[in-house]
Symmetry: C2
């Protein structure tokens, strides 16, 4: 991952194109650094062509008087003077060749990182290093991945060598844009001061406006046919660049030094400044007032943050990178689908920004929004029941919209609508039927649909009734359905825990509908609703559920059978006479799939598990792949009709400035496309097969049907966890792993999960060699807990190696606490 | 603006670099089109170098047997074979030259558009047109703007000629990314099937994955020294490409035709599909059920949408572009700062996406968020009072946060906090003090801070008390402060209208504090609050204001003196004994600057007009320049302290998944930087000067101080409007112009403003010659109304020509309704 050393300034050198003088200008920088007395390193990771520019060869040719201060090296060499990916292929095809197989991106970037670290450990006082890439920014590396993508994990600050030839203005700006799209810091643009095309004259103000320093350096001599003459002439050119008469090169050197120092200063100052200015969401600042409490994220790539290391660990030294990889263990608050900084999502955002910026939505339409709406409604989670998509900005606003829809649908049927019939107080008292532990967001309307618990505020007024639901977990290798006392007392044996079955059979809701437990649920719910309708002054107007798992409430894996029966009972109580097919029944049913939807739990939507459709559903988080905010509330035509007439005041008067903004919709479309590809990937198939054949639970039998229920986490690991004494229970679905730490106090205020896992918050130093992080550094884990509940969440494409490694880390931390 | 003709397929041809065979391949396409019997047009907008590739010259050289079917043309020619911007400069510098001055972007793009339209009118049955650009995608045009930006207003579908040389993979991909960043549709990539570097072999799957068609065509012959031989050899190459044996070129042609047809089909189908799937915000679908009610936005640029013309207007013909420019008269629901698709904002979004994607925020920090927070708090609208920034997703969530902050601050001081002291019902009944006509967003908490009016829903429970405020307007050339009856009755003469003064003096709140009117306000407010505290069962806990203008409530320009006095009175009623400097007084004061802030009204924040600071303020909309959603709630340290202790449950338990997402923050930082530049621009200075010296109101006197109060709208136009009988009153500040249409019914349900302006919703055909739209087409105006209130809103950089033209259109529409 990202490398940054305080005493060794490292820059990578990218070319706007091939043959723009990259090696010459890099050599000039190398000489300039050596002239300034710096310990200087030059690395050419991949070199093609018969003459190598690297190693001793390189030093002999270019290092001049400073050979002893310069160390040059090349990692991968190929003879054929073509693009590295082709040179590597040709070398491999050559039967006589002893060239090893084509290095993967992982090997390639690992070798570079290892070499940079090695150099860092050699520097005594202060050094400079230049890593020269091959060809243009998008030239393929050995594996075929293009360079901007392949080097991205290291995110080294960049020098762009501009093109001073005809057409070079374009090549230089486009190369800069490709670098920008990958989030590189371009510290300087260097090019020759060529006086016919004068590209530098155009580029200096162009990049100046964009905050970039441009250095225009004397043109080198034409290549002379005679090697000796060529050498002499080139050397004279170097001398000229390095002479006191021409300050341009040293100006650039100082500028690069200054950028390096500023970056370090910025990182060092960020914790204090953050504590002084930022008001964090969901954080009690009184508990985190020290600089080391601030996690400074310098950049992110894949599932890994690069964080600034404030630690005063004795094992650290000047030679350690001040940036450390940190696994994003909560998928950044449950948003990530493909890891951070995915270039496809970046380009999707850019495409929509370039075509539309934002355009307003009422009475308007645009392709990204329409395509997304159709996709969600017709072939996505709304398939088979939804007819409409309403866009908003986040899960909370999406739920406010859903609640407004449901309340209106109910009040129109119940009493003729918002403006007629019902008195105001009765309307305000309309209640929600839901489950204890629900969470639907932090705007007050969404809060009012939940019980008053930890998440509350002055205006919070819980409106409705919430059942205490049975839940599913794995304990000591066995599946357990735990019943709350009120339900347990209605069973034949009165026991709270029902043990046995497989994960798959537990989620086979259709089959379980005929079990005695289903009858118990039915009886219990029907009875409770009867009692409620007799006793309560308020009217229930909607059933609102987070299907399968209630996230913020503590990763509660609700027994899906209970949710199904609840829906069935509510719908069976329908008394409406004029109903036509497709109309909502009993109460409008809302599925809040903000957290669980779109494969977070391994399936697209809970309708496939519960076997029934909602009337309204909300999606967000994964919807945009984890890049930008967007939410969608889908509704059936029956709900839509409740607002449909010719009175403006009866419309759904809800909207946000950026409703259905093109950037969000385009990123969502890209996300849905990527998910579709992933869902057919070998990685998914492998994980699914493991769960299908797994003896996860000791009394399990492998099922022959394709698993709807599976997890990215290894079944044997989950099983082992469930046997630990410190783990009360564990459960997993899809990307989510959650376990309850044995703790007598419990609840949101508990710190037990935080405490027991604290060792994974630090890097495991001995793991250096086998780190699954690109570039191979020891990594730590950023994890979030909910009181005594610990959870971990993956992207939909987290590498197998990474998952296994995180499992090992969790295992080590918990094993250390064995009683 | 964007051009699209059903019978003439137009493509622009961009090169990945110079000298990649752009002209050869364009010629091949031209010949292929002619071979297929199409009326074929070739346009080279700007040509440099001694040999022109265009016009007869071109046809002679390349058209082969199809001369009579091909029309070729060049618009701007220069002899020097350098980049067009340099060639134009050199030509101008040449004293002997008769070359006119360097064409502006406007002239350049206008000439291209005019030529394309002319060709379209000539086509009898079906034609193809190719517009060949010069050099690479970012090569500067004559003015120096680079091509991708300069051609963007026309947004023609694009063919990218790839680079088949060494380094060409990189050049081709980077060029593609630069095109993507500008929102072009790249329909195909063409390049030579060069067999040593084999770039096509790499690019075909690379672009295939991204949905792009790649055509690899036979390599042309080496250029022969003898012109005749060269001609013959090249001609043979063309023959080969056009021969039935080689289908590659015709495959591409069919693909381009198919893309063209699909695009037209898509546009035609979008209205119906939108009506079938989309649920619009704030729209009564029952009133808009026909296809012509749907505004299909194909793209946007600057202040102009390109919309699909469903009109069946008889003056239209096959020869008219099916896309029409439409001025975005509401700045896309009040969001736009620099017009649509601004490349700086796109790049800012891409930069953050490439560096971070999204990273979670609790206990974390990253540069874009920290920089933005510091900028807002320390040198932006929070300067002098705010110490903290809390991020959320939109104005509504920002206001929910603000309300939660204020209620807690109040309840901590009043009764010891959320969990102690006060009973739950008392907490829920805490009320807001505000103004009638307020609007703070559509989430239910934000709604509850407003009176129940049009914007309501089942759960809406207006909590608090709202004063009917006096307002400012211009009537018949004079400034009028209109008092509501309750206040008018407290003045000496009992009159409702106070006439006189200048706009500037009306907004000189400090001076007006000593007027009798200020005393009246003080007396009235104090009395009302006294009465309230005695009679009401609920306690007022916060003062919430939209300063200066209440937007959604009907563009009410509130008398700023009233708002100031209200704040002063509320603060003077402070009874808290332990107060230290900086503590909030009386009630926490919230400024909702979501709509009015950040120069929407010509000033950064209302604090400069009102002369007092709030304790909490909210910004959104312009904050991100009109690209992506983001809101910030700023608070003073005194508010922050109310949440600060060591109990997690006392923290501000509010957050959204994408809180402080890097893309949003980076775009906001870019926006604030661009605004800073604009605020010193000649355009602003000119508009400001006009208002300073204007005899806007007939009894006005020019003031000598720098105007804090000014407008982008011309004072004489505003004055003239105010004299029209159909206009009851008018008012303007900054980018906003609002007027009330004389209408006895009025209110939100009224359609009078919509009706009276309906003519501007159609293009004014006679304006073709003087259209301020880039590319010069007749334009229509998209405008939003609020009942009998019409308003128009500009970006912060709308061109003077555009503003004058829109003024003319409004004038024409209203004049036609003179009584």
């Amino acid at each position: 991952m990202s490398l940054l050393f305080s005493h060794l300034r490292v820059h990578q050198v990218f070319g706007a194109n091939t043959d723009v003088g990259k090696t010459l200008l890099t050599s000039a920088l190398v000489r300039a650094s050596a002239t300034k007395g710096k310990e200087t390193y030059y690395l050419k990771p991949a070199s093609t062509g018969p003459l190598s520019d690297a190693d001793d060869e390189y030093v002999k040719r270019y290092a001049g008087d400073h050979r002893n201060k310069i160390k040059a090296h090349c990692l991968f060499r190929y003879n054929e003077p073509v693009s590295p990916h082709l040179a590597a292929k040709l070398a491999q095809a050559d039967a006589a060749s002893t060239t090893p197989s084509i290095p993967s991106d992982d090997t390639f970037i690992g070798a570079i990182a290892a070499y940079v670290r090695e150099c860092s450990s050699r520097v005594r006082i202060s050094g400079h290093m230049y890593v020269e890439t091959a060809g243009g920014v998008h030239s393929p590396t050995l594996s075929g991945t293009t360079q901007v993508d392949s080097y991205r994990p290291l995110r080294l600050p960049t020098i762009l060598i501009g093109d001073s030839r005809l057409g070079g203005i374009s090549a230089t700006i486009s190369a800069y844009e490709s670098l920008t799209l990958r989030g590189y810091d371009v510290d300087a643009v260097l090019l020759f001061r060529e006086d016919y095309y004068r590209n530098w004259e155009f580029l200096e103000p162009y990049f100046g406006e964009r905050g970039l320093k441009v250095g225009a350096l004397a043109t080198p001599p034409e290549k002379h046919a005679d090697a000796a003459t060529n050498f002499t002439q080139t050397d004279q050119w170097y001398q000229k660049l390095l002479s006191p008469a021409d300050s341009a090169l040293f100006d650039i050197l100082s500028h690069l030094d200054e950028r390096h120092i500023r970056r370090l200063e910025e990182l060092h100052s960020m914790p204090r400044r953050t504590l002084d200015t930022i008001w964090w969401p969901f954080v009690q600042h009184g508990l985190y007032k020290n600089e080391q409490d601030v996690n400074v994220i310098d950049s992110a790539h894949g599932d890994v943050f690069s964080v600034f290391k404030t630690s005063t660990d004795k094992t650290d030294s000047l030679h350690t990178s001040v940036l450390q990889p940190q696994f994003d263990g909560s998928a950044s608050w449950w948003t990530q689908a493909f890891g951070h900084a995915n270039p496809s999502l970046t380009l999707a955002a850019a495409r929509a920004a370039g075509r539309y910026g934002h355009v307003m939505f009422p009475q308007c339409t645009h392709t990204p929004a329409l395509k997304l709406a159709e996709r969600l409604v017709k072939s996505g989670p709304g398939k088979g029941w939804a007819s409409r998509a309403f866009f908003s900005d986040d899960g909370s606003t999406g739920m406010e919209v859903a609640i407004k829809m449901a309340l209106r649908a109910f009040s129109v049927r119940d009493a003729g609508g918002l403006h007629d019939g019902q008195d105001r107080q009765k309307r305000r008292d309309l209640g929600i039927l839901g489950l204890k532990g629900s969470y639907h967001g932090d705007t007050i309307g969404a809060m009012d649909a939940c019980e008053e618990g930890v998440y509350t505020c002055e205006w919070h007024e819980a409106k409705g009734y919430w059942f205490d639901p049975p839940s599913v977990s794995i304990r000591k290798g066995r599946i357990v359905v735990s019943l709350p006392p009120a339900i347990a007392s209605e069973t034949q044996d009165g026991k709270a825990d029902i043990v046995g079955g497989t994960v798959d059979s537990t989620y086979d809701v259709e089959k379980r509908l005929t079990t005695p437990l289903a009858d118990t649920y039915r009886r219990y719910i029907t009875g409770a609703l009867e009692k409620l309708s007799q006793s309560s002054s308020s009217t229930l107007a909607a059933l609102v559920l987070e299907p399968i798992v209630m996230g913020a409430g503590g990763m509660i894996f609700v027994d899906p059978l209970f949710q199904r029966v609840l829906i069935d009972v509510v719908r069976s109580r329908d008394t409406h006479s004029g109903r036509i097919p497709g109309d909502w029944q009993g109460l409008p049913v809302i599925f809040d799939e903000v957290f669980i939807g779109l494969y977070r739990l391994g399936f697209e939507t809970a309708t496939s598990i519960l076997g029934v459709n909602p009337d309204i559903s909300v999606h967000a988080k994964v919807l945009t792949g984890g890049l930008v905010p967007l939410a969608v509330t889908m509704a059936s035509e029956s709900i839509f009709d409740s607002f449909y007439n010719d009175k403006k005041a009866d419309a759904l008067l809800h909207g946000h400035s950026y409703t259905a903004y093109p950037v969000g919709c385009e990123v969502a479309n890209e996300t849905l496309g990527l998910i579709e590809k992933l869902s057919k990937s070998d990685e998914w198939l492998e994980a699914q097969n493991k769960w299908q054949t797994a003896e996860l639970v000791e009394d399990a039998q492998s099922s022959s049907t394709a698993p709807r229920i599976w997890s990215f986490w290894d079944p044997s690991f989950v099983n082992a966890l469930s046997h630990l004494d410190v783990v009360e229970e564990v459960m997993t679905l899809g990307t989510v792993l959650a376990f309850k730490v044995s703790d007598n106090t419990g609840g949101y205020q508990s710190h037990s999960a935080q405490t027991i896992l604290s060792s994974i918050g630090r890097a495991a130093v001995d793991e250096n060699s086998s780190s699954p992080v690109l570039g191979g550094a020891p990594y730590c884990i950023n994890y979030r807990t909910l009181g005594n509940i610990a959870y971990f969440m993956l992207s939909l494409n987290t590498s197998k190696a990474m998952v296994r490694s995180v499992e090992d880390r969790i295992w080590s931390a918990l094993s250390a606490h064995r009683r």
